[in-house]
Amino acid sequence: MHADRDRRVRRMSLLAAPGALLRRDLLIAWRRRAEVLNPLLFALMVTALFPLALGPEAGQLARIAGGVAWVTVLLASLLSLDALFRSDLEDGGLDQWLVSGRSLPLLAGARLLGHWLTTGLPLTVAAPVLASMLGLPGDAALTLLAALALGTPVVSMVGGTCAALTAAMPRAGILLALMVLPLMVPVLVFGAGAVDAALTGVSPLAALLWLAAGLALALPLAPLACAAAIRISAQ
């Protein structure tokens, strides 16, 4: 009994710091809630750009819809990743994380979760809209939704780790893209592949399972890697 309560108290206090961080990040996002819609609007706009660039023939468009949707989502995440740790590094916030003596992987995990909640989740929820703009039929649209739900957390986690590494550089935007995009190739291939499969009538389950496997791999490892990256950047 006693040991049990102790353990619960310890676990609570273990999660106190990341909990506070997540709450604060969401509070800041709430303060700038006008901006929460931005990744979404961006995705809509890039989706609109493609027809403008490629020509309006609808048939061609639907054929590449899965790829376009994923490229769009990747870019929207990329644009928001750049600032993920930069401001904390510059204003000394990361120093405070380190001096606090709290578990750095948990803090990093909270930050990554916050990023997904404010970027990946809205994009996932908006999947049906993207799908209808690109002329995807119902089951392909559902597949896109599932693929995004599995894939965007991976994007946040892997991208966030890279962002922690580049946080100390003043204009890392593109360097970050260079680091993140190759790492995202599997997500892109399986994500777009799942939609493609659904479009051509094949079962998208295999591709979705691969995405799930990636997620299962990233969940425990990304916070550790991210913490190590933060330590390097903070020096």
Partner: protein, 226 residues
């Protein structure tokens, strides 16, 4: 157990109650080939202020960042309460750092900043946020975003974190900078508080200011001052 009244004891198994909070022996820091500060010895004792003095560029800030565990010393050993610790990483509730860049978010109010500091802290023996803000003279500014505060007001928010998130050792980098006369008295009061409860304090100074009538040890840091 260490028995200074009111001390914020977080580590239940303190290795040596008589030892200073931090002892550094032959501590040095180099960037590449160049030594920033030479091998020095120092002890951060409970109930005393360690004032690090030196000209611009002599390495005061660097020393503080080494003590905070943000930079790795190139030489020397660091002990916490007499026990060597390698690598030098603080545990919750041990250290607090007041630096030039205090990690304030422009969009959040002082009260919200402090709430986060409480979340990061060990959370014992702390003052409520509202009282801490009142104590640093920010009554009426609790809910303004930090973006709207002046340089000195921001400094006061940072000082308030020392009250809401108590720590055994305070590392203060130029705590008097940007503050007005009242602010100076405030810093003196805060330092007095920590001294009375037996905590340790390291502060840097250019020699203009120092806490009044408190037990101080001054060390000069030898650098190639500009």
């Amino acid at each position: 157990m260490r028995s200074r009244p009111g001390t914020v004891t977080v580590n239940p198994d303190l290795p040596d109650p008589a030892a200073p909070w931090i002892r550094a022996s032959r501590l040095a820091f180099a960037r590449g080939p160049e030594t920033i500060f030479g091998p020095i010895d120092l002890a951060v004792e409970g109930g005393r202020v360690l004032v690090v003095e030196g000209g611009n560029g002599s390495g005061k800030t660097t020393l503080l960042r080494v003590l905070a565990g943000l930079l790795e010393p190139s030489e020397g050993t660091l002990c916490w309460l007499g026990a060597p610790r390698e690598p030098w990483r603080p545990a919750p509730g041990e250290l607090a750092l007041v630096a030039h860049q205090p990690g304030l978010k422009p969009d959040l109010s002082p009260a919200e900043q402090l709430a986060f500091a409480v979340g990061l802290s060990a959370g014992r023996g702390a003052m409520p946020i509202a009282s801490a803000l009142a104590a640093v003279g920010l009554e009426g500014y609790e809910h303004l975003p930090v973006r709207r505060l002046s340089a000195g007001q921001r400094k006061r928010v940072t000082l308030a974190t020392l009250l809401v998130a108590p720590a055994n050792v305070w590392l203060l980098d130029e705590p008097y900078a940007n503050l007005d006369r009242d602010g100076h008295a405030l810093v003196d009061r805060l330092i007095g508080l920590q001294v009375r409860r037996g905590g340790g304090i390291v502060m840097t100074s250019h020699g203009h200011f120092a806490p009044e009538a408190l037990p101080c040890t001054r060390i000069a840091i030898a650098g190639c001052a500009g």
